[in-house]
């Protein structure tokens, strides 16, 4: 996989207080983001022959055949389509799928896109999924979804490793400091550990400020082969390694609450890339909740299992810290439209192209994006590098 496929363009849309500006639909958002990403790459929509799209719009209705619906709307005629919905990690998975398809010659220019107006639609709630199939063994018992699952993991994590709510709060404090530097971030006011602990408890041990935002948003990414990348505007960001892994859909099926599928995804990604965790310069990690980030730094091998709670102390992952994490403010403070994973990739690309502005990190030639979907259900890890 090494240096055969690259990210060559990214695009997203402006938000104001978490709302997409101008009352756009999910399709309009994707059109804006896709146009920007293709222009960024120096390509046109006629070059796109692979489409990778997922989300939860247009259901029931055209969203059932989302790949076809987006092809129709954007005037694409792809010969390769992937609508894998594995939760918020889907876009990291799609980078892997697109890289494989491009490498195999099934398509040359892959467009990944996503749009959500969940905040405008007020469609998000904590009521839990309908009590059908295996969900009939979870929803009737009052588990709010998805936060309840993460809260169960967090309680177990604190118990096993002697960590405290304060340690979880450090994750949010570090990430908020990045949001201060991002004019596009929804929440930009600095916070302290006390602020997190004093925010309302939602599902213990997770307070309001341990939880991601609920916003609108959209984004797009263009990938192509090494050969085509030579003619694109940007330096290629190589897909060095990739891994995905799956576990449970209901929490009773998760055997070890402190061992998410990010472990298995990470092992695959590093072995394909031939690099080690200690080689990485920064990370963009799915931060649905503070516990997600804590478990993921351990799974990626950035520290030992059980030491993730210390990893965020003393501003280590904040601006100026030794290992930057979530440099746009993350799902906790920048935006979270329901499936956040595409923004991990967009921010990593911007940092690697040194377009970070005041939040530009000094070293950004080797990084990782780690997506998590469902309730620690799925994981996809992408290792990125520039020459």
């Amino acid at each position: 996989m090494e240096r055969r496929v690259a990210i060559v363009g990214v695009g997203d849309v402006e938000l104001e207080k978490g709302y997409v500006v101008g009352g756009l639909t999910e399709l309009e958002i994707q059109a804006v983001a896709a146009k920007r990403a293709l222009e960024d790459a120096g390509l046109t929509h006629r070059d796109v022959d692979g489409l990778f799209v997922t989300g939860d719009w247009g259901l029931p209705g055209p969203g059932l055949m989302m790949g076809v619906a987006v092809s129709d709307y954007l005037g694409l005629y792809p010969r390769y389509v992937d609508t894998s919905n594995i939760g918020g990690a889907a876009f990291e998975a799609m980078v892997g799928h697109a890289a494989a398809a491009i490498h195999a010659g099934y398509c040359q220019v892959a467009l990944i896109c996503y749009g959500s107006i969940q905040k405008s639609r007020k469609s998000r709630n904590l009521a839990g999924r309908p009590p059908v199939l295996m969900q009939q063994f979870e929803t009737p018992f009052g588990l709010p979804s998805p936060i309840g699952g993460y809260a169960l993991a967090a309680t177990r994590y604190l118990h096993e490793f002697g960590a405290r709510e304060e340690d979880l709060a450090e994750v949010a404090v570090n990430i908020r400091r990045w949001a201060e530097l991002n004019p596009q971030a929804t929440l930009r006011t600095p916070i302290t550990v006390e602020d997190v602990l004093n925010s309302p408890m939602i599902c213990s041990p997770l307070h309001l400020l341990d939880c991601c935002l609920v916003t609108d948003g959209g984004g797009a990414i263009v990938l192509t082969s090494a050969e085509r990348a030579r003619d694109c505007r940007n330096r290629p960001i190589w897909i060095l390694g990739y891994g995905e892994a799956y576990d449970h859909i209901v929490m009773a099926s998760m055997h070890d609450l402190t061992h998410p599928p990010a472990y298995a995804a990470s092992v695959q990604a590093f072995s394909r890339a031939g690099i080690r965790p200690e080689d990485l310069e920064f990370a963009e990690i799915y931060d649905s909740f503070t516990i997600t980030v804590m478990l993921t730094v351990e799974a990626l091998g950035l520290c030992e299992k059980g030491q993730g709670w210390e990893f965020f102390h003393n501003g280590r992952t904040a601006p100026g810290g030794e290992f930057p994490i979530n440099t746009n403010g993350g799902g906790l403070a920048y935006a979270h439209p329901g499936m956040y994973g595409i923004f991990l990739l967009i921010e990593a690309a911007r940092q690697m192209w040194r377009r970070g502005g005041v939040r530009q990190i000094p070293k950004a030639s080797l990084g990782v994006t780690a997506g998590t979907g469902g309730s620690l259900s799925s994981s996809a890890v992408v290792l990125l590098g520039v020459d």
Partner: protein
């Protein structure tokens, strides 16, 4: 039935489970080939892929593996119960169940011994749990 607890949409996989609860029994399938106790109930053994399963009864005693105290809910029923406890419970034979525990939240700890409480509501019976010390005079 406003503000009622959401009821399971019972199906072919789960019919026995909910029927037995109405008779005051907690039962789940067990794999006849490899012996695995299977929860949630399903038609195939996820360990050895045998589809020869037998329903067996469990005592309903367990210990808390993890829990959360919920302070918010947009579910009409649970919003009247705040704060309430949801837990993962290790029942015997390596079975792990997710359930509601009817307990004062400040009493909760990992490892707490609990026992099933059959809760009739909405025309079915829910396998909820309570601290075992609330039922027997031991902890």
């Amino acid at each position: 039935m406003a503000n009622g607890r959401r009821v399971p949409v019972v199906d072919h996989d789960s019919q026995n489970f909910w029927d037995h609860l109405r008779q005051g029994r907690l039962s789940i399938p067990r794999c006849s080939a490899c012996g695995l106790y299977i929860y949630y109930p399903r038609s195939i053994c996820p360990r050895c892929f045998s589809n020869v399963l037998t329903w067996v009864e469990l005592s309903g005693k367990g210990t808390v593996y993890s829990y959360t105290v919920c302070y918010r809910s947009s579910d009409e029923y649970w919003a009247t119960k705040l704060p309430y406890v949801v837990a993962l419970i290790e029942v015997e034979n390596n079975v792990r169940m997710l359930s509601y525990i009817d307990v004062e939240p400040s009493r909760m700890y990992i490892g707490m011994p609990v026992i099933i409480r059959f809760t009739p509501a909405e025309g079915t019976v829910f396998p909820d749990f309570v601290p075992i010390s609330d039922v027997f005079n031991v902890e």
